[in-house]
């Protein structure tokens, strides 16, 4: 079955180092200002290679979500969720909601990224920002 893996290409190292520090950084295009995800050597919108690793707020809105009921990895025991989050900075990232869960559909709920150990590495997870706290 195996353990889920992170993707660690040459372009990804600064992002994972920032996740290790507990404050994710993404590349911000020096040409158009757009944040991009996943990491890439050029901006997908203008192909500019000019970019600066910039911290993101970690806050965003759930775009979609699923709950797995079947086990595919040793380190993810069902039921477990994955959520697609549209960050305030723009890009859509995938994470996993931990802690309190919204009633009904999670789409449109505000979340913020938190950082925790998982399978021997640090990665981000999402924490629900209840409406009164959002």
């Amino acid at each position: 079955m195996g353990i889920s893996k992170i993707v660690m290409g040459l372009d990804d190292k600064p992002m994972w180092a920032s996740i290790e520090r507990g404050a994710m950084e993404l590349q911000k295009c020096g040409e158009c200002g757009a944040f991009r995800y996943p990491p890439a050597p050029v901006c997908p919108h203008d192909l500019s290679a000019d970019a600066e690793w910039t911290p993101v707020s970690g806050k965003g809105t759930i775009l979609s979500w699923v709950v797995f009921h079947k086990q595919y990895f040793e380190d993810h025991v069902p039921p477990y969720n994955s959520v697609a989050i549209e960050l305030e900075e723009g890009p859509i990232v995938v994470s996993q909601l931990r802690g309190d869960e919204p009633e009904g559909s999670w789409i449109g709920q505000r979340v913020e990224l938190i950082y925790a150990e998982h399978a021997g590495r640090t990665q981000h997870f999402a924490r629900w920002l209840k409406p009164e706290a959002a």
Binding site: V7, D12, P38, C43, F68, I92, S105
Partner: protein, 390 residues
Amino acid sequence: MTRTPSAYIVGAYELPERFYPDKSLAQLQAEAALGALADAGLTIDEVDGFFCGPDAPGTGPLSIADYLNLNLRHFDTTNTSGSSYTVHVAHAAEAIAAGKCDVALITLAGRPRAEGRAKGALARTDNPQQPDFQWEQPYGLAVLNVYAMVAARHMYAFGTTAEQLAWVKVAASHHAQHNPQALLRDLVTVEDVVNSPLVCDPLHRLDCCVVTDGGGALIVTRPEIAKSLKRPLVGLIGSAETTQGQNGGYMDITTSGSARTGPRALAEAGVAIGDIKYASLYDSFTITVLMQLEDLGFCAKGEGGAFVSDGGLISGSGKLAVNTDGGGLCNNHPSNRGGMTKVIEAVRQLRGEAHPAVQVPGCDLALVNAIGGQLAVRHAPATLILERFA
């Protein structure tokens, strides 16, 4: 006024079994090829163009070309996952029009069940260095995750329900009951689908396609040869392909690239979506069919749920006959790549050779659409418009 085809599909063959524990992959490739050639009334010696995907063992076309002793002038191993073979039909027609080959053979075969690697139901084994895989890899995601995410978003945005998605499977089962080779031949109801175990909420087990061994092959040739064969003439009059991905994190997950390939293929063919009598739509999951119906223009965006409800896709009684062989949901999804069987059933319909219970009367215009890869994060849609000529 439709376009005059530059090439015709004259041979189509689907391997009969769905589990091949005792036949090698090379043998399955060969049996598929010989079946399609026999269907066309051509011999292996006449093949001068070869199109295959990475399911063919060895490097590109080399091993199977050697194994079949092909004398090639042209080959193409474009790999867009499940849509590869749909793409290959268009590429074969282009090569024929350019004079690069006369008789093109397209093959697919695989034995994931026999080899115990049913990828659709297991963790992905693709290269984790693939940069766009940041999406899936660290969070326990498998192939169906992104399809379930699309379904969840579609439900949120358009009010689509699990019961509506279930109708896609119900229609497939209505067709599969008439296909003696189908893996799943039992009729199922909406209740059966929504009461089947959740695999990845909101998708249930019966929202997912089957995993099968097997395959098939196609023969595409130039008009002069096609007209000499005394087989029904199925011509390619329009085609389009594209890719769609994450766009740096800014993708629209409820619109597929079929929204671009469909209109382009129809415009090239000179026909309207309402003229289509039969459609083969890649049914990796029920949501995939719903998305294609909307993106191709069979209905407006967000109205796919209503379109498929109450048997909308059942041949004879529904709005549009779709996947009359039972599709990937019930019949066959060989090697986890559905683009080949989609073309084969469209050819059967246009020839009038589908099962009588599901044959569309006077079927002279068909659309094939395949989504290779995965919705939302990386996919290659390919659309074909096929016409029956007298």
